[in-house]
């Protein structure tokens, strides 16, 4: 693992007191003057209904392994990929496995009892804890060096327009699910709407000044004072907008193109738009944490563009002996893998602003799922495929763990992002600490 000391650690190592800091900070000869701490990022990508184990998990462990059919799109990124088998969602309690699968996936803690009735288990409500992405985001937002405009961004693709346990993965706290934004135009408005407004504002300032002069001219000189102050402040605002405009011009506001209707067949287009927006928002440093949720737990996308006519969830219930379904499910997961690869490649080809390397050098993508396998509804062997070098995990490997609780992986993600928590979610599953053998 390569370890680059940040500026504070560097100073600590030099033995400089806090009082000396301001002086040191202004000494360019130390070579750190304009260097910001490394911008680490974390992305969680979700796809539903489990996977087909024998077309997904590599047979081998270690650095020498062969990618199976579902994961073949990762070939070019193999050295930057880490496949974790044997990580299990051990959280039990109320709710069916699909509900707990997504509701406990990032929270690692039980669902509240409630009125949402799943398959055969007891009804349940929302998760009783915060999700790891929000936990990390809160930590990053605490410090000025890592604080960003949004902290985290929650993307979705074709998430059904209803709020229930199956459609929510991210929680800002107990009983506080966060809805992903699955309309790229809505996301665009969130990211860039303000800049657009400033453009509008800039364009009316001249007329505003004219209007002020007209009104002011009718007033006595002593009355004019208040309006003069107003005019001065408007001029100041104009200057600030000007300089802010210069700054923002470094980040190109992406062109979004025509509005895309949110419907099943547009999933590939929406997916690409959302990924492009996410990469752009990283370039602008709007956030360091993001999630990307495809449909929902039990999601029923019909991937007609893959010649799969049946809904995903329906297919996932078919027995292992149904070869055609297994093949179609493999195709579906391979398509999700392609989305992962598109995201990773966009990050890899985008230089890190103000630093060396690419965005992918500082970003870790975690691709996961609410189930291990669709027809058994197991919460064992939840797929966790990690891509990118953001967390200094040792990549290019296939690891098989002896059924360790996924809370430990969630803790590892926090530690990797510099947030050294000792437990996360249900503490019973955290006792042994972070997952071994990652770094």
């Amino acid at each position: 693992m390569t370890y680059v000391p940040n500026r504070r650690e560097f100073l600590r190592n030099l033995g400089l007191s806090a009082a000396a800091m301001p002086f040191v900070m202004n000494l360019p000869s130390l070579g750190f003057a304009n260097q910001q701490a490394r911008k680490q990022r974390l992305i969680v990508m979700f796809s539903p209904n489990g996977i087909v184990p024998n077309t997904f998990w590599p047979d081998q462990e270690g650095e020498q392994f062969t990618l199976k059919e579902s994961l073949t799109p990762l070939e070019a990124l193999k050295s930057r990929t880490l496949i974790l088998n044997g990580v299990c969602d051990k959280v039990r309690g109320d709710g069916d496995n699909h509900m707990r699968g997504i509701g406990c996936l990032l929270t690692g803690i039980e669902l509240f009892p409630g009125n949402i009735q799943g398959g055969s288990d007891t009804p349940a409500g929302w998760s009783s804890g915060i999700s790891i992405d929000q936990e990390i985001k809160n930590q990053l937002q605490k410090s000025p060096e890592t604080r960003t405009r949004f902290g985290s961004l929650e993307f979705g693709v074709m998430v059904p327009d209803r709020a229930d346990t199956w459609t929510r993965m991210v929680y800002s706290g107990a009983n506080k699910p966060i809805a992903p934004i699955d309309d790229p135009h809505q996301m665009f408005a969130k990211l860039y709407g303000r800049l657009k407004d400033q453009e509008s504002l800039k364009s009316v300032l001249d007329e505003l000044q004219d209007d002020l002069r007209t009104v002011s001219a009718k007033l006595s000189s002593s009355d004019r004072q208040l309006l003069d102050e107003h005019a001065t402040l408007v001029r100041e605002m104009e200057k600030e907008l000007q300089s802010a405009g210069d700054l923002t011009s470094q980040h190109v506001i992406p062109e979004l193109g025509a509005r895309v209707k949110e419907e099943n067949d547009n999933i590939p287009t929406i997916s690409k738009m959302q990924i492009d927006l996410m990469v752009n928002s990283f370039v602008a440093d709007f956030a360091r944490v993001a999630t990307l949720q495809y449909t929902n737990s039990v999601g029923g996308a019909r991937m007609r563009w893959l010649k799969v006519e049946e809904g995903h969830h329906e297919l996932s219930h078919k027995p292992d002996t149904d070869a055609s379904s297994q093949e179609q499910l493999t195709r579906i997961n391979k398509w999700y893998c392609e989305q992962l690869v598109y995201l990773a490649q966009r990050l890899a080809e985008t230089p890190e602003p103000g630093g060396g390397g690419s965005l992918l050098d500082n970003t870790l993508i975690v691709w996961t799922n609410e189930l291990g396998k669709g027809n058994s509804h197991t919460l064992d062997n939840i797929p966790f495929v990690l891509v990118g070098n953001g967390l200094d995990f040792k990549m290019g490997r296939s690891i098989k763990y002896p059924k360790l609780p996924h809370n430990r992986l969630l803790m590892s993600l926090a530690h990797g992002m510099g947030h050294r928590i000792e437990r996360f979610g249900n503490p019973d599953y955290c006792k042994a600490g972070v997952l071994p053998n990652l770094t």
Binding site: L111, F112, P113, G114, N115, I116, Q117, T122, P123, A124, G125, W126, S128, D161, R162, A163, D164, T165, A174, N175, A179, D183, H185, Q186, A189, G193, R194, D197, S200, L201, S203, V204, E207, L208, D210, D211, L212, V215, S216, K218, L219, S220, D223, L226, L227, E229, H230, L233, V234, E236, M237, R259, E262
Partner: protein
């Protein structure tokens, strides 16, 4: 050297300025004149200086003497300059040091050696304090109607009404409660409805049963409550939804639920906060559904709210209406607070923070309007806003009002353009000229890339224009529109409605009678009631009483619920007073009743069944008097375990009598009761305020506060303290120099209720609250004239506000008033 006659004349005139005019209120005077010590100092100065001037040597000259000798011939006796060579008044922002250096070097012109060293310093110090500095200028400047920006309250109300004016107007009925529809399953279709009635509020526990066992299948049902909610005051409201089942609550947003409890999750109550403006109604919808699931056996629901500084309570029926009102836009952008240095919110200064806030708010409003553009323009594809949108779950913001295929369809664009013209006219409180239509609307649409961008540009330009942001710009061409605006800001703190604008267009705001008629009409609006209520709460200093908690050992039963109920009791009394025909101000002091409910009655020793709702209860008139002895105020103006005659006395001096009190010369901690266990509170206060420096104010404060000594720290009547009988005698030296004696609070109340001092103070304070301009800018006699009118009309607060607003509306800025006060109030009964 002898005394120059002109110099003596000057001092006489100076003193004339400084000396009290006995008929005027101390409060108003304190804004204009230096405090009493300075006036005394002026007198001393005159006496001593005359003697020095006659006999003392030249080297003892004061700064003022030097100024009059060397400078006044050109600069004028008070730095006003002369009309020929020195027209500029001596006023500016240089420091005393800078002034003295300048004088040393350059003054008097051509003979600077005549005034150097100590003399220069003395002159500089003199002119600085007497008239040069901005503070001195403010002191000597006569009060005038100021050009002012909208206060924050006015801004928020104006936006709410501006946007709301494009939505259907609803008129009020007296119906209260919520429309309740009960369905026999969760689908809530009309054909599944088994009950349609009005429920007084939402507080139900159906247990394992159903609302009407004959009508329902016992396992599954749903209920929809609809209507509106009235917010009595401005602030953050917490809504608390408690249910065993699934439920959703919408408030002031028909699409996005405030509480989305469709997923029942855990046992906790769902709580969300929303900011509401007082005196307005907001649409409300609540849906609950019990499912068939075996686990979900029980059904229960309650909808509570928690007003600022109050305990949570089931929303009372009087705040619920079965009618549905349209949504109101409440600007969320935070604003810096207004200047309240003169005791009322004023828009007399602007800052960068304010500028930024108005910009952010303009962007917020433009986004809201763009989203709802089809509704406002009245175009097709309205997407059913305000139809109670039954869509579940998360809304899709961008799709909500999204134009369909063809965004720039010509018809919509034209309608939008018309909307923009009307929007600007309502915001500016007057019609646009053709030239202005061109500038504010047409050019924006022409230059913007899309209809959407054009619309946003118009909104930004209009809401940033001084024509919207400032009041009293004057010179608008048509005086009637200025009158309309003054009327509406006076009565409502908001822009004129269509009726006022039409009256202005028809030149029906020219006569005093026309203006009065409008003011009387506007009195019926809940916004006026809210404004009066806020005033009375300020007059009672309730805004100072944010934490009323008591020593739990001494008063174990005095819990937050009691405090909250007390506040409700006070509110009910004030609401009663404001809405009653007589609206007699004296009732605040003299009333012999109190609103109590079961718990309050028990706590304060009145006979009421434990579960009683609030009702008027008569008390022993010799013990209590109006709201003066209201337990909420008595607890508020008290320490945690003992009373505070000082807090109570300050309230009566400042608020009720309008006396100005300076802060104490040093911060003083009250003497600890346990260190003086043998003393009563009265004795302890007397001991602490014995020093001469305290007595200047405390000789007035203490004997007023002592009259309330019968009310302990929670406002209960007490007869003795430490085994000694309570002494509640007091006194007051009136401004006219008459010593009044009071045997107790009833005596005091009777004195206050008939005292000119009380009436002048009230009139002045209400004027400032309503008009937000200095009262004396409307004529030096205005407070007195209004007071007389107030008395003639039996101290009717409603007539008073009409009178105040009528007079203010008829007064152009910069013009002296000669309007006769008094006719307005007759209007209310007459019309």
């Amino acid at each position: 050297m002898g005394l120059h006659p002109p110099l003596a004349a000057l001092f006489v005139s100076l003193l004339d300025q400084f000396l009290p005019r006995t008929a005027q209120s101390q409060n108003a005077r304190s804004m204009l004149y230096p405090p009493r010590w300075l006036r005394c100092f002026g007198l001393c100065l005159l006496i001593s200086w005359q003697s020095t001037a006659i006999c003392a040597a030249a080297e003892e000259r004061s700064g003022e003497q030097i100024y009059q000798q060397l400078c006044a011939s050109c600069h004028g006796a008070r730095g006003e300059g002369d009309n020929k060579n020195y027209p500029q008044p001596l006023a500016g922002d240089r420091s005393v040091t800078e002034l003295s250096q300048y004088i040393e070097k350059s003054m008097p012109e051509k003979e600077p050696e005549k005034c150097v060293g100590e003399d220069a310093k003395k002159v500089a110090a003199y002119i600085y304090d007497a008239f040069y500095s901005p503070i001195a200028q403010a002191r000597i400047k006569p009060p005038q109607i100021e050009l002012a920006r909208l206060t924050v309250r006015q801004y928020r109300s104006s936006i709410a009404d501006l946007v709301g004016s494009f939505r259907p107007a609803e008129s009020w009925t007296t119906d209260r409660g919520l429309r309740a529809e009960y369905f026999k399953n969760r689908r809530m279709r009309t054909e599944d409805r088994v009950l349609d009635r009005v429920d007084p509020n939402v507080k139900f526990d159906f247990g394992e049963s159903v609302p009407e066992p004959d009508e329902f299948d016992p396992v599954e049902f749903a209920i929809k409550w609809q209507g509106s909610i009235l917010a009595p005051e401005t602030g953050d409201y917490e809504f608390i939804l408690k249910t065993d089942n699934g439920a959703r609550l919408w408030i002031n947003d028909n699409e996005r639920p405030l509480i989305d409890g469709g997923v029942k999750s855990g046992k906790e109550d769902r709580i969300e906060t929303i900011r509401l403006l007082g005196g307005r109604v907001y649409p409300l919808r609540l849906e609950m559904f019990k499912s068939k699931e075996a686990k979900e056996k029980r059904a229960a629901i309650s909808l509570k709210w928690k007003l600022p500084n109050r305990a949570a309570e089931v929303i009372p029926q009087r705040y619920l209406l079965p009618q549905r009102f349209p949504e109101t836009l409440i600007v969320e952008t935070p604003f810096p607070p207004d200047d309240r240095s003169e005791g009322y919110e004023r828009g007399n200064s602007i800052s960068k923070a304010w500028e930024q806030a108005t910009t952010d708010a303009a962007i917020e409003v433009s986004a809201y309007i763009a989203t709802h553009q089809r509704e406002f323009a009245g175009s097709r594809n309205n997407n059913g806003r305000n139809n109670g949108g039954e869509r579940r779950g998360r809304q899709r913001e961008n799709n909500k009002d999204a134009p369909n295929a063809n965004e720039d369809d010509g018809e919509h664009r034209n309608k939008l353009r018309e909307f923009c013209v009307r929007f600007a006219e309502r915001a500016f409180r007057q019609p646009l000229t053709d030239e202005q239509k061109q500038l504010f609307v047409d050019r924006q649409f022409a230059e913007a890339g899309s209809t959407d961008a054009g619309l946003k540009r118009v909104i930004l330009l209009v809401l940033k224009s001084p024509r919207f942001l400032f009041r009293e710009l004057g010179n608008t061409g048509n005086v009637s529109y200025d009158v309309a605006a003054r009327l509406s800001f006076g009565m409502w703190d908001s822009i004129p409605d269509d009726i006022l604008l039409k009256a202005a267009a028809d030149k029906k705001l020219a006569s005093r009678e026309d203006v009065q008629n409008q003011a009387v009409r506007m009195l019926a609006d809940p916004r006026t009631r809210s404004k009066l209520r806020e005033f009375l709460l300020q007059w009672l200093r309730v805004d100072h009483l944010t934490d009323i908690s008591k020593d739990s050992k001494r008063f174990p039963d005095f819990n937050p619920a009691i405090v909250s109920d007390l506040r409700t009791s006070l509110d009910l009394f004030l609401d009663d007073l404001i809405s009653s025909e007589s609206a007699d101000f004296r009732q605040l002091l003299m009333s012999e009743t109190l609103y109590l409910n079961g718990p309050l009655a028990k706590f304060y020793g009145f006979e009421l069944p434990a579960d009683s709702e609030f009702q008027k209860v008569s008390f022993e008139p010799s013990e209590r008097a109006g709201v003066l002895t209201h337990p909420y105020l008595m607890s508020g103006f008290a320490y945690t375990s003992t009373t505070s005659p000082i807090h109570r006395g300050v309230f009566i001096s400042r608020s009720v009598l309008g006396r100005s009190l300076r802060p104490p010369p040093e911060a003083v901690a009250p003497l600890a009761p346990d260190l003086h266990a043998d003393l009563t509170t009265r004795e302890r206060v007397l001991l602490q305020t014995k020093p001469e420096s305290c007595q200047t104010c405390h000789s007035m404060i203490n004997p007023l506060g002592f009259t309330l000594e019968h009310f302990d720290a929670v406002g209960r009547f007490q007869r003795e303290e430490h085994g000694k009988l309570i002494d509640s005698t007091g006194n007051y030296l009136t401004r006219a120099g008459e010593q009044k004696q009071f045997a107790g609070v009833r005596d005091l109340a009777a004195f206050l209720a008939q005292s000119d001092e009380t009436h002048t103070a009230l009139v002045t304070q209400l004027f400032h609250h309503v008009v937000k301009q200095p009262i004396r800018a409307y004529g030096i006699q205005t407070p007195d004239e209004l007071r007389k009118q107030f008395a003639q009309h039996n101290f009717n607060l409603r007539k008073l506000i009409v009178e105040i607003v009528t007079q203010a509306a008829m007064t152009e800025r910069g013009a002296k008033t000669d309007v006769t006060i008094g006719q307005a109030a007759d209007k209310i009964n007459g019309s």
